[in-house]
Assembly symmetry: C2
Homo-oligomer: 242 residues x 2
DNA sequence: GAACAGGTGTGATGGCCGTCACATCCCCTT
DNA sequence: AAGGGGATGTGACGGCCATCACACCTGTTC
């Protein structure tokens, strides 16, 4: 089914249709030409580890298509998901800018295309084009904001059900390109396992299972494979305090 | 006692003795001259609110002396400390770069000097001098790293005692300019109340009190006013897993 | 010195959720 | 069709810690 990844490969950044939607790629022509010269495009299967937490930085990745999971792990093996990166994001930036080890392990969640730029090329690219610096700053602020929102979720929520409700609602915000059937309710695509959801909200798999079961029993949520449906958004919103 | 703040005011950035130690201020002469022109220096008493979470950004502050507390609050009034900013840091940067509301409330913890730069001046300053962009990126990576370490603390720790031990150890890392007496042990200055410590690690004041009492009873810690002393660093380290 | 406010120590109680254990289901491979 | 591995559902139990309540202790103000 996903043989040959079933992906349309974007070879040329100058002709990329998504350029304007992608935060980092919306650059002046001059910069794009340079980018085109120094980037190395690859397609990675699901589950590829792009960066390993603790490794010294080799460079950055610009995610063209697909999504990737940023996570960090404790000495005990417990791990927590920092965020899910979307197409257009720059990965490994914190490490590259400060020349310190990668903060997170980055794993592709789907077959993904990414452009790799080596540390040296990236630094030169950054110095040559002021616009690139601005894009870098914007990506970093995005990282910060995601991190702060995660901190709020972990530190200010009262209960696990609340955190899960918050997560579901955040997923419900970005519109999903799923044929919206008559049965009212907001469809969302969930490609995370319960284990991963647990890592996202800082709890255990069992608790996630129980909470989701509870939401279903209350008629707030319907689960059909990877497409879920939020039936009672108001009820979920009533749970969250932030 | 603290009348007239007892502070030496740094009027001229070009002649500032701390310039090289301060992340943001170590700029080329040209940029410093411009900075000197657009900045507004003020001294704020302890407890001043420099930014309010949710407000639209008016500009940034460069913290010259003193320390400031960045925190975020839930609708219920529960709040959590994101980090403590040290001299040389730029505050309100995330908001200024992305032109979105301040992510945190920033409160001075001591009488502090800060240079304010308005949003417009800052953006022009940023565009004019590439070095400034680099400094901004470095400050933002610092913010990210602090946030990630907070996430690790909140999400990956097993217990509150572990988090508090971790916090004490992190304080023990930066050397404190306190006359180190013969009684071996690492002296640290703690200007946070137990309530604030609780907000830092995401727990309650009572639990902090109990845990600190426990540490004292075990002979790991000594508290004398605002100067504490870590007597058994190894024991604290054995508690933390990350 | 009395009054007061903010910070701290400590007991009792109860509920949330982590942990362990196992059953079940679904999808893929052979 | 059989088998296997990953994902999920669910029960029992217990401990950590939030919550409430109050005492104490310090420094400040009048």
């Amino acid at each position: 089914m996903t043989a040959a990844y079933n992906l349309h490969i974007i070879e040329n950044c100058l002709k990329c249709d998504f350029r304007e939607d992608h935060l980092f790629c919306n650059l002046p022509r001059e910069a794009l030409i340079k980018l085109q010269a120094i980037k190395a495009t690859s397609v990675y299967p699901k589950g590829t580890l792009l960066c390993l937490e603790g490794q010294s930085p080799r460079g950055i990745y610009v995610l063209c298509t697909g999504r990737a999971k940023l996570s960090t792990t404790s000495a005990e093996g417990k791990s927590i998901i920092l965020r899910i990166a979307e197409p257009g994001e720059v990965l490994g930036l914190t490490a590259a800018v400060s020349n310190t080890p990668y903060e997170a392990t980055i794993e592709t969640m789907e077959p993904s295309q990414a452009n790799f730029i080596s540390q040296g090329d990236f630094v030169r690219f950054l110095q040559e084009f002021p616009d690139v610096g601005l894009k870098v700053a914007q990506q970093l602020t995005h990282n910060c904001k995601c991190a702060y929102s995660e901190i709020r979720s972990l530190g200010l929520s009262n209960s696990v059900p609340e955190k899960i409700a918050k997560l579901l609602l955040s997923w419900a915000q970005n519109p999903v390109n799923i044929p919206r059937k008559i049965d009212q309710g907001i469809p969302i695509r969930v490609t995370l396992t319960q284990e991963e959801i647990a890592q996202f909200v800082g709890t255990t798999r069992e608790t996630v299972s129980r909470v989701l079961g509870d939401f279903r029993k209350k008629g707030w949520l319907k689960v059909r494979g990877a497409t879920w449906c939020i039936l009672d958004k108001a009820a979920l919103e009533k749970m969250v305090t932030t």
